[in-house]
Amino acid sequence: MWQWLTQQYHRMSSPKWFYELTGRWVPWLVAMVVISAVVGLTLGLLFAPADYQQGDSFRIIYIHVPAALLAQSAYLMMAISGAVFLIWRMKMAAWVAKVIAPVGASFCLIALLTGAIWGKPTWGTWWVWDARLTSMLLLLFLYFGVMAIQQAMESEDAGHKAAAILALVGVVNIPIIKYSVEWWNTLHQPATLTLTEKPSMHPDMLWPLLIMIVSTYLFFALLVILRTRNEILWHERKRQWVKKLLES
């Protein structure tokens, strides 16, 4: 068992193995993303009953909540990847961390924009300085910081390391986001989904949300894989196996 694990670990750090494996996965991922998104959005936009208080504007939830969840977990994955790079000097981990940043930032932006837009019919203002929205804005700044320091460093390796260090330092912010709703009395609704409590949503409203969350995470995986494959193509361009790729 242990041998198998170490074998997998060594495999994962090989760009060639990653490239070949993910090459097989990409079409399946695309199919799964499209299907789950179509199903989720159809159910959410057409079949879920309108919310008693918010009316049809609540349907924004099917984008906002998955994006917000992903923005937070993506940052964590970026930090973990960075840590793997710092500790074990695995090139692949550095590339994965680098690649996650703009994707995570995009979803963070989506969450912020949809959250703000959703706020207007719900609370009457385009922006509210409550803990949750503000923390998400801070998360966006953290993403920008990681991308900025990576770009600014002179050598690429120093850039990876600096970004990893900064991401790890920023990870402390994530728990503060998660528990900020408990700490402060704010306008923002309490989290609609918790692992331990029964969700407060009607099942017809909940299922599309769960499907959209899965779809979003799958989409994230697809984007990270696509971008990492590009990093591999660039960094390994002098290798035989990359040269052979073009001839086939």
């Binding site: 710092l86 801070l138 700044f141 953290l142 920008f144 910081g145 900025a148 320091i149 600014a152 460093m153 002179e154 050598s155 120093a158 390391k161 600096a162 260090i165 900064l166 790890l168 330092v169 920023g170 402390v172 912010n173 503060i176």
Partner: protein
């Protein structure tokens, strides 16, 4: 250990001989706080509500000002390479630098804050909490600041980037500190917020020097 102590002594001596290093951020602190009544409204009732927040934001900005040059001189004159070659604990060195920075920046700010409190009509009840929040909070700012300063030490225009990197990390400190001062001003308890600041200080003291040490190593010229 002796290298750390020697570095701390040297830096403090340099700061003492170069008054601009600690006096300029202090003046900046005072001036920024002065801007608000000028820009908005000198009415005591209005100022007393925003005083805590304004003072804290001013303290934050003043701290950021003084962080930029923290490691740059050491990178440029080769001291950093000497540290790394010496084999002494970089963690201790980073902690020492944070301490020096606090002595030059956070401590003077804390001591001057009651003056600003009076100028901005901070409620009397909030003066002690203001001091407390700054005394506990500014070391956190210095500690987190060393990480940013270490990351940007060898970058040419690192100063602005440093600000962008560190400000989001400062926000939790700002939130709890300003909340403590405001709550105290309206007569409510504020000990929870100060306790949170204490927890952040403990966490920062334990972890920030590791990150700073790792970041310092990046500044070695190839």
């Amino acid at each position: 250990m002796s290298l750390v102590v020697a570095t701390i002594r040297r830096d403090l001596l340099l700061a003492a001989r170069n008054p601009g290093e600690w006096a300029n951020p202090l003046m900046f602190f005072l001036m920024v706080a002065t801007l608000f009544p000028l820009a908005v409204d000198p009415d005591p009732k209005f100022l007393s509500r925003i005083a805590g927040g304004v003072i804290w934001v001013a303290a934050l900005l003043a701290t950021l000002l003084s962080l930029d040059a923290l490691f740059r001189a050491d990178v440029e004159d080769g001291s950093l390479e000497q540290w790394l070659a010496s084999g002494e604990s970089l963690y201790a060195l980073a902690l020492g630098k944070a301490l020096v920075h606090w002595c030059i920046s956070g401590l003077p700010l804390t001591l001057m804050s009651p003056l600003l409190g009076v100028m901005l009509h901070l409620p009397n009840d909030a003066l002690l909490p203001l001091l407390l929040s700054l005394a506990v909070g500014t070391p956190v700012l210095s500690l987190l600041g060393t990480v940013g300063a270490a990351l940007t030490a060898s970058l040419r225009s690192g100063g602005l980037l440093l600000t962008l990197l560190i400000l989001p990390l400062y926000v939790p400190v700002l939130i709890f500190a300003a909340s403590a001062v405001y709550q105290a001003g309206i007569g409510m308890t504020y000990h929870g917020q100060i306790a949170m600041l204490g927890a952040m200080l403990a966490l920062a003291m334990a972890l920030a020097p590791f990150a700073a040490a790792a970041a310092l190593k990046l500044n070695l010229s190839r």
